[in-house]
């Protein structure tokens, strides 16, 4: 699936490049390559434009979907997602600050991460605090912080941070254009340097998340029981939240605000492969990569030659999906 998506992503575009030419031009970058018959222009399109875009899309999709699955596991909340927890808004605020101050673009991921981690901490403390009375029995039974109160807190935090970000953006009108283009979310300006910028964060986040996938399964019996099974729950939660936020923030730093990937993909994986995080986490990363690459193909072909911002497409698919998940969860009384 991912391989298909990657191949299609490289091949499809305003200037069609046949798959055979794609393969040849890729091989041409290997040492001892066979003699290439691909016209240089096609090779340049593949190597300089399509390929970085597809690779970046795959990395971003993997981080958003894997991050969503990890948040869902650690908050024991089926609707947790980088977007809904305010992580994306916080990361957006951090990234906007970097853009308006004209600082080195290498600061984008760390600034986005700082904003994202601040937002998730705020959301969780507000959500856990606001829901404390209603959820005390739920917490006592190890059911985790209530779904509704966390989501409401996430909405409030996202609104607040978005307001701050909008204010900064308007107050620095000379950079308005670049901030706005960035927010809309997109992979259109993807370059290899962006791939290089986020790859260390992506690798660190992926390793940390995958290393904890078994413990996320233990957490399914609740925090108290997980503790009695030898899991240091506070440390687990800290590491997983930091890793997921790191990955999501890196994704936001290069692609802007792309919502709902973290909900759509893990839920589709659960429907087909079952709820165990041992499977859901790695498969969500692969599935998220494929999903975003395919969505990006749609974004740049549906109204060709114009491009639809990819965030618009994911929201168009994701919002109805979110309501569907909310309804089916409520039917099962999992909602606080």
């Amino acid at each position: 699936m991912l391989i298909f998506a990657l191949a299609a992503g490289v091949s499809i575009g305003p200037a069609g490049v046949p798959l055979s030419a794609v393969a040849e031009s890729l091989l041409a970058h290997l040492p001892w390559h066979p003699a290439s018959s691909v016209p240089p222009i096609d090779s340049a399109i593949v190597w300089q434009i399509r390929l970085p875009r597809v690779v970046l899309g795959a990395l971003v999709g993997a981080m958003l979907a894997g991050g969503g699955a990890a948040y869902q596991g650690v908050f024991r909340n089926p609707l947790a997602d980088p977007y809904l927890l305010g992580v994306a808004a916080g990361a957006g605020l951090g990234a906007t600050m970097v853009i308006i101050t004209g600082a080195n673009p290498a600061l984008l991921p760390p600034a986005a991460f700082a904003g994202g981690i601040g937002a998730v901490a705020l959301t969780y403390s507000l959500g856990a605090g606001a829901g404390r009375h209603a959820d005390e029995t739920a917490l006592e039974a190890g059911r985790g912080a209530g779904t509704a109160s966390i989501l409401l807190a996430g909405v409030a935090v996202a609104a607040l941070l978005t307001a701050a970000q909008t204010y900064l953006q308007q107050a620095h009108s000379q950079t308005l254009q670049s901030v706005y283009a960035w927010i809309l979310g997109g992979l259109s300006g993807a370059t290899w340097s962006q791939v290089g910028l986020i790859i260390p964060y992506v690798i660190a986040a992926s390793v940390a998340l995958l290393a904890h996938r078994r413990l996320l399964d233990v957490l399914r019996v609740g925090e108290t029981e997980a503790g009695s099974l030898g899991v240091n729950v506070a440390r687990l939660r800290l590491i997983v939240v930091i890793a997921a936020t790191l990955g999501a923030a890196a994704a936001v730093a290069v692609s802007g605000l792309i919502g709902f990937v973290g909900i759509i993909v893990p839920h589709l994986i659960r429907l087909t492969a079952g709820p165990s995080y041992r499977v859901v986490l790695p498969v969500s990363m692969i599935g998220g990569a494929a999903f975003l690459v395919l969505t990006d193909i749609a974004a740049r072909t549906v109204e060709a030659p114009a491009e639809i911002p990819i965030g618009v497409l994911t929201a168009a698919i994701g919002a109805p999906f979110f309501l569907f998940v909310l309804r089916s969860r409520r039917a099962r009384q999992d909602l606080a």
Binding site: A141, G142, R143, A211, R214, L215, D217, V218, R220, V221, G222, T224, E225, G227, S228, L229, G230, V231, N232, G274, P275, S276, R278
Partner: protein, 265 residues
């Protein structure tokens, strides 16, 4: 095996445990009895280090506070009163959770872990549940499955909070007999809260009566299961009778003239 000294637990203004001391010898089964809210669950959780507690708990000769979470989970297996059973998890995966304290940070279950769990499922007559989801279980199966998960920890100490509360009387006896057999097979040390006083007397070597956050009495079942002691602490007329087998049977008595048995118009 367990030595608790001067334990005190407060929840806000409420004193949940007040200077409670207790010890359980290796291989012994101690039953915790007492009215609702007396502190039975809190005492178990304090020993399992699940609540903040003042005082000292020594487990297998080591101060509980000096152990890591993993080390503690290799010494103590805790079975809560209402365990969470994720409905979509399979029975086999659920029992495997018990191996967590033996699996390294970056590792997954080994073949040996799987063998241990498979033989436990077999021992508990639950082999048919290995691939079935937890939602498809009966109360008795769920109870044995949680016990299997606890045994998968291979800890020498078993803490049980009302292990039989959701079962009918026949399944209760089955469950307690099973725990007794496992205790002898694996020389486990058992500390359990038991609501049913008759069963507590039949199965435990020693009883500790908790009332109002303190130890009100402790000793052999015959020492603790006494009319006056139980009536005073449970606030109802209670009579202890001796059955033909020599067991103690604890029954409640209706008291004519008390508020609850007023004229029946």
């Amino acid at each position: 095996m367990i030595r608790a000294n001067d334990l005190r637990v407060r929840f806000g203004p409420t004193v949940a445990l007040d200077s409670v001391s207790l010890s359980v010898a290796t291989g012994e089964w101690v039953g915790l009895i007492g009215p609702n809210g007396a502190g039975k669950t809190t005492l178990l959780r304090a020993i399992a280090r699940m609540v903040r507690v003042d005082g000292t708990v020594t487990v297998a000769g080591r101060r509980s506070g000096s152990l890591t979470q993993r080390q503690l989970a290799r010494l103590i297996a805790y079975v809560p009163q209402n365990p969470q059973l994720p409905p979509e998890m399979t029975g086999g995966d659920y029992v495997l959770l018990g191996r967590t304290p033996h699996i390294g940070y970056f590792q997954v279950e080994s073949e040996a872990d799987r063998r241990i769990c498979a033989s436990l499922l077999d021992r508990m007559a639950l082999s048919h549940m290995a691939r079935r989801q937890l939602r498809a279980m009966s109360g008795g199966e769920a109870q044995r499955l949680v016990l299997a998960r606890a045994l998968a920890q291979e800890a020498p100490i078993l803490l049980l909070d009302e292990p039989t509360s959701s079962l009918d009387i026949g399944r209760r006896v089955d469950a307690l007999e099973l725990i007794d057999e496992l205790r002898k097979e694996r020389s486990l040390t058992v500390l359990s809260a038991i609501h049913d006083l008759t069963l507590a007397g039949q199965f435990a070597d020693r009883l500790v009566l908790l009332a109002a956050a303190r130890v009100a009495a402790s000793g052999s079942p015959a020492d603790v299961l006494r009319d006056d002691l139980l009536s005073a602490h449970f606030g109802a007329g209670i009579q202890v009778m001796t059955t033909a087998d020599g067991d103690l049977a604890v029954i409640s008595r209706r008291m004519p003239g008390s508020a609850r048995s007023g004229a029946g118009n």
